[in-house]
């Protein structure tokens, strides 16, 4: 209620309008107000620097030719990228990560989008409980999901198969797909489906030709999320990867324990670029605002 009221207030009502409304008596307070505003911006910009500087540093470090951290940087080279892409263990890990992320994305998208449809449209008894269940992996520390799955696999004596890892990742990424798909389903005009039905389309045809295309952006955004979350996933992988087919974050982590050279910077830049691509893709597909809800 409140939010709609404040949003519909004309923008002129705020700051500028305020300044106009304040008369002579308050004029003395304008100067401190300006300082306050400057301080507010300065603090916020400092915080933004804190947030973004580490990422910038990684990029600088990856491009700097010296084998140790040097600041300010002495030059620009791509030697660490060359080393990263030539290193067999990194490339193998990158392959494993991409494979796991691709499989996870497919599973999480199919499972999550179906579950979201069932929750929004199936008239399920206890739909709220089902929804809470589907979102619960986000609520629990991932390290516990990893531990629990590891113990289950040990007890069932199944070893450490790839499907075990993909199942763990799928569990962690389904919540994103459920959430993004539900967001679209909630804004869905039901009359479109009714119109299709009234015009003689079968329920199946209505589903494939009306419902599915309309929820596609939400499903797509969920899939993108699933991919990046799986690609960067650490705690579950820590417990579930089998030796010899570790994912990239695990290999980077093991490397970081002993070494701190530019190769890891190059590897990081590759994964940062991927994250940026995802943010831009999300913004393009459905807009970022939908996903800010935690």
């Amino acid at each position: 209620m409140r939010a709609t009221v404040s949003k519909s207030a004309p923008p002129a009502f705020s700051r500028q309008g305020n300044a106009v409304a304040t008369t002579g008596t308050v004029r003395a307070a304008v100067a401190p107000k300006r300082y306050g505003r400057a301080l507010y911006l300065a603090v916020n910009i400092a915080i933004l620097i804190f947030l973004l500087a580490p990422i910038a540093i990684v990029v600088v470090f990856a491009l700097n030719p010296t084998p140790f951290i040097q600041f300010p940087p002495v030059g620009i080279s791509l030697r660490w990228f060359a080393k990263f892409f030539a290193a067999r263990d990194f490339m193998h890990a990158l392959g494993v990560s991409l494979e796991v992320a691709a499989l996870t994305t497919i599973c999480a998208t199919v499972f999550g989008a179906s579950a979201a449809l069932a929750i929004a449209r199936g008239n399920l008894p206890g739909a709220q409980l089902v929804l809470a269940t589907m979102l619960s992996p986000l609520m629990l520390p991932a390290i516990l999901t990893g531990l629990a799955l590891f113990q289950a696999y040990v007890l069932l004596d199944v070893g450490r198969p790839m499907w075990g890892l993909v199942a763990g990742h799928t569990l962690l990424t389904i919540p994103y797909v459920v959430r993004t798909t539900l967001a679209v389903l909630h804004n869905f005009d039901l009359r479109l489906e009714e119109a299709a039905r009234n015009l003689g389309a079968s329920p199946a045809r209505t589903f494939f030709e009306v419902t599915l295309p309309l929820i596609k952006p939400g499903v797509l955004a969920g899939a993108i999320f699933a991919f990046i979350v799986s690609f960067d996933q650490f705690p579950v992988s820590l417990f579930l990867v089998s030796p010899g087919s570790e994912t990239l974050p695990i290999v980077l982590f093991n490397y970081l324990k002993f070494d701190l050279d530019g190769t890891i910077g190059a590897a990081s830049v590759v994964s940062i670029l991927l994250a940026l691509l995802v943010v831009i893709a999300l913004d393009r597909t459905v807009g970022l605002r939908t996903y800010v809800k935690l």
Binding site: A9, P32, F111, L117, A118, R121, G122, G265, S271, L294
Partner: protein, 289 residues
């Protein structure tokens, strides 16, 4: 009403996920709870009994209590600093008028969030090590002669964790601050309050639920972190998640690891339920939606 009678075909689409969750989530967590109460692995060992000894070990050994306390202490500092840093940014995000400005701020918050945790921890290692960016800059500018001890201690862990979890604080707070009617603040100012006083007496109290929810979330996340405490702590500092993994990887003590896991599980559940309750109260609906 008889909603059960109106179940339609789409309802069955929940089955694949339900099955996956039953087999790969609830069953394993149930098994973990059982394992934490057993004397051994029932698949391998022939005689297995119920026991509370794993839990007794946690409670009776000062070492494990110290580990739990370290975890909590790191979590509390991380939460406090994330709140102090996150609040101004959240306020700006909630109040900024320009759409492009809002989008840019959102990107600035989401990009670190979507960058892998190992990568971000590496970035802090490059910044905070003895020969890292911060120390090199301070030494070359003549401000210090000896490098500051910024990592391989709790300070380093807290700095890294704050950076990783501050976006969660910002996003939670932005949601709550955005709901506060800006005109309340303006009314206070028009009645003669300074902007600072209007903020302290109007906005801040109204955003308390957001502060509480964001703090619960960041605390829950930081006590279950593994990568950052182990790398920025340089294997010197033991926290609960590190201890859990060590029990599996080095000692292969599944029962004890399960008991430690149950401790973390219960604490996290309590925190997350509280988080949802608080946000649910603010938004007038269920917090999970």
């Amino acid at each position: 009403m008889s909603s059960a009678a109106r179940i339609n075909g789409l309802a069955f689409l929940v089955l694949p996920s339900a099955l996956l969750f039953a087999l790969f989530f609830f069953l394993p967590i149930g098994l973990m709870a059982v394992m934490s109460l057993l004397t051994g692995n029932p698949v391998v060992a022939p005689h297995v009994d119920f026991t509370a000894r794993h839990y007794a070990r946690i409670i009776n050994d000062p070492y494990y209590l110290e580990v739990i306390w370290t975890t909590i202490r790191i979590g509390l500092w991380t939460t406090l600093i994330a709140l102090v840093i996150g609040y101004p940014l959240a306020h700006w995000m909630a109040r900024i008028k320009s759409r492009a400005g809002h989008a840019l701020l959102l990107m600035a918050v989401l990009t670190p969030m979507l960058t892998g945790i190992v990568v971000r921890t590496f970035a802090w290692m490059a910044l905070l090590s003895d020969k890292g960016v911060v120390n090199q800059t301070l030494i070359s500018s003549g401000l210090i002669s000896q490098p500051l001890k910024l990592m391989y201690n709790e300070t380093g862990i807290i700095i890294g964790l704050v950076h990783i979890y501050v976006p969660f604080m910002v996003l939670t707070l932005t949601g709550v601050i955005g709901r506060i009617d800006e005109r309340l603040e303006q009314a206070a100012e028009n009645l003669g309050a300074s902007p600072a006083r209007a903020f302290l007496e109007v906005t801040l109290p109204l955003s308390l639920p957001g502060i509480l929810a964001g703090s619960l979330l960041v605390f829950a996340l930081s006590i279950s972190a593994y990568v950052t405490p182990i790398l920025l702590g340089g294997f010197q500092i033991m926290t609960l998640p590190i201890l859990i993994y060590q029990q599996i990887s080095a000692n292969f003590n599944i029962g004890f690891a399960a008991a430690l896991g149950m401790v973390l599980l219960v604490v996290s559940l309590v925190l997350v339920i509280a988080y949802n309750r608080v946000l649910g109260l603010v938004s007038g609906q269920h917090g999970l939606q």
